[in-house]
């Protein structure tokens, strides 16, 4: 096998695995601040106990997120040395800023947040929670700005020795692609956390444990879940799609399985792309909707893959197509689930509605699948480019690192991450079964 395949497989594996954790970290950091704020404003001890419970889950999740994130920071250099050498003068800025502005805040205040509640008092502890939230969300921005440069390079100039240099700081930092991708991504993180919070609340309710805490968690989870599920589609998803249509027409065509160019382009609900015969099998389509979503008019002309040179096509159209459709399909379902739950909550029926509780308890894996599919869409759609239009993925690898070395380390990561995953699930399960603590000696407010 070609070494580049191993490099790509390793990065896809380690990045996908890693991102299962930060999405909950970032979403939960937001929800913990909400719990802490309500506790602080109302003096209701239950909210503080809920926050403390989620902080324990957060701690385990954060640990796995950190240790699985360090490899990614290294892999830019170990596996993608020509990419780092070529573009490090630009993307190094956001990687360095992430460390300096975000990681320091996050890690310093995490210690204070997890271990310092008694020493800090309620106000200081709320502040520590807020700083952890701020640090993790800043970190998200810097890494997405880095990715946005790879998707839609701006603010750079050609430097000596065939390298890229930063030319315009603000253009690079506030890449329009980064802004919408960030909003879309962070909203997804809050959705994941909301579903997880609701699932635990549903579990406690069905088990008839910790019912007071369950009600609190359910309320916060359903309200944020509904709000962010709607934000996920519009405006964030909508604008992200328009940017893809504008800057990556090949990606858009492949996502929709669209081979023929034309006006009144249809949105595909279901169908299987047959790439070798350049057609879509068993399609169910809605005419005009793709034109409208991409360009704001039902009659707009959308370019199909047939009018794009073959060497510009994403190299895994089938996977890209399905990843995109899974993301959109699940995103739509989330609004339905959270909408229904919110209606029941409003009528004060949710905590007694067993079918809905079962649905919420089992729904939590789906936001993880949707975010994974969303990232796969973004990264597969970018192919065959590593930096869109500037450097091909094939030309970004470390030239002297053989496929055998990468295979060895990939298998090592797989073994390590398997064990890590088992331990993680075991510990989280223990915490959830254990539930929030209500001892008076724990209460500080």
């Amino acid at each position: 096998m070609d070494a580049v395949v191993w490099h790509r497989f390793q990065f896809a594996f380690t990045a996908t695995y890693h991102y299962l954790f930060p999405q909950l970290t970032m979403g939960l950091a937001f929800l913990i601040v909400v719990f802490k704020l309500i506790a602080y404003r109302t003096g209701n001890v239950r909210y503080n106990e809920a926050a403390r419970f989620w902080a324990r889950i957060f701690g385990i999740n954060f640990a796995v997120g950190v240790v699985s994130g360090i490899p990614l920071e290294f892999q830019f250099g170990t596996n993608w040395a020509r990419f780092s050498s070529y573009s490090g003068g630009v993307i190094g800025l956001t990687l360095a800023m992430e460390g300096m502005f975000a990681f320091f805040a996050e890690s310093a205040f995490l210690g204070l947040f997890l271990f310092g509640e008694k020493r800090l008092g309620p106000k200081g502890h709320l502040f520590a929670a807020f700083m952890v939230f701020l640090g993790s969300w800043l970190s998200g921005y810097f890494i997405i700005a880095t990715n946005a440069f790879m998707q839609h390079p701006v603010g750079y100039a050609a430097g000596p020795n065939d390298t890229l240099q930063l030319a315009d700081l603000w253009a690079y930092l506030f890449n329009p692609w980064a802004l919408w991708q960030y909003a879309h991504n962070m909203s997804a993180a809050v959705i994941t956390a909301s579903f997880v919070v609701c699932a635990v609340a549903a579990y406690w309710t069905l088990m008839q444990h910790h019912e007071e805490h369950a009600r609190i968690c359910m309320k916060v989870g359903v309200v944020t879940g509904l709000i962010f599920s709607m934000l996920q589609i519009s405006p964030t998803g909508d604008h992200q799609g328009k940017l893809v249509a504008q800057h990556q027409p090949a990606a858009l065509a492949a996502m929709e399985g669209k081979f023929d160019s034309g006006t009144h382009a249809e949105m595909v609900l279901i169908g299987q792309p047959d790439v070798s015969n350049r057609r879509l099998e068993n399609p169910i389509m809605v005419p005009g909707v793709l034109s409208y979503l991409a360009y704001g008019s039902f009659g707009a002309h959308v370019v199909g893959l047939n009018d794009i040179p073959h060497d510009q096509w994403p190299d895994n159209i089938e996977l890209l197509y399905f990843m995109y459709h899974i993301m959109v399909g699940l995103g739509t379902l989330f609004i339905a689930v959270m909408g229904l739950a919110a209606l029941l909550l409003w009528r004060d029926r949710l905590m007694h509605n067993k079918p809905m509780l079962w649905i919420l308890m089992f729904a939590f894996p789906f936001p993880y699948i949707a975010t994974t599919a969303g990232w796969a869409t973004a990264e597969l759609g970018r192919q065959p480019w590593l930096i869109y239009g500037l450097q091909r993925t094939l030309h970004g690898t470390s030239p002297q690192v053989s496929g055998g070395n990468v295979a060895f380390s990939t298998l090592g990561f797989m073994g390590m991450y398997f064990v890590l995953g088992v331990l993680f699930l075991y510990l989280v399960h223990r915490e959830i079964a254990h539930g929030p603590q209500t001892e008076a000696k724990e209460a500080t407010s």
């Binding site: 385990i60 240790v67 250099g77 596996n79 050498s85 320091f104 310093a108 930063l166 070395n405 331990l423």
Partner: protein, 348 residues
Amino acid sequence: MTTLWFIFLVFMFAVYVVLDGFDFGAGILHLFVAKNDTERRTVLAAIGPVWDGNEVWLLAGGGVLVYAFPRVYAAAFSGYYLPLMMVLWLLILRGISIEFRSHQEGSLWRSFWDGAFAFSSTLMAIVLGAALGTVIRGVPLDATGYFLGPLFTDFRMGAHPGILDWFTVLVGVFALVALAAHGATYLIYKTEGPVQERARQIALRLWIALAILIVPVTAATASVQPHLYASLISRPWTWLLAVGIVASLVGVFVSLRRGAELPAFLASAGFLVTMLGATAAGVFPTFLTSTLDPKFTLTADNAAAGSYSLTVGLYWWPLALLIAIGYFIYLFRSFRGKVTLSSDGHGY
């Protein structure tokens, strides 16, 4: 300006070694100074709130390296492919052994993580030292600007050395003893009772061993990379660093004898900083020496990013650093004084 960024990087790396160094040291000594669960919880509680922040200095330093010297980052990280993968696995193992240990009672669970913590800390100290050794010694950089360092070849010097040879292993052992000694002074400062008593006994032995080890390490460095000392002698201001090394070493022994806990730790930190500073001053402006041909050597000048980018960095980097230092002062002040264990069995 590239000189300035060289100094910034050395500064971040030195802070990293001082901070993460004491929690590596605590890990190396974990099984020796703490014998039962309460004592081991004490050691972990001494580093628990801060170790993750300490490690961030390495990550942030790596980020600044990509930013300021992308070619060095690309060459070094791909060249050290296998050793770095193992560093990653050790860091993963170490991180989870600190974090997961407290989540379940039971002697098997906790014993396992204690062992994993000590094992990964010990190996990491040696690897970090060996990596520093290869920076002094040089690597087979060629005209492409890349190299591939196998883990080991024949443990001898030459144009194509492995990562591990007699010299880098020697530096690795030196780093192991230095970080263990540094960790011991930290534990003396942060703990009481039997843990502190054992740390005190070990600290004295380790510092004596370290003071003796300096002689062969210095001699070996002089034989492997003679121009390091030549450039030190030609830059008189670096003699201050040599004075600093001796002064901090004396400071450690005097403070240990007097039972001055914080001064001993600070002197220990001073020792690490002056040692690293002297090494950096000796190799400056070189990042990676080529063992094949001096013209392939990567220096602060030929590997730097564009000047616009580095100029912009002169504004945001010091600002970010000041904020980060503020966080760390707040963090360490919040957890100042001797470690106290919470009674509910959680925490550590």
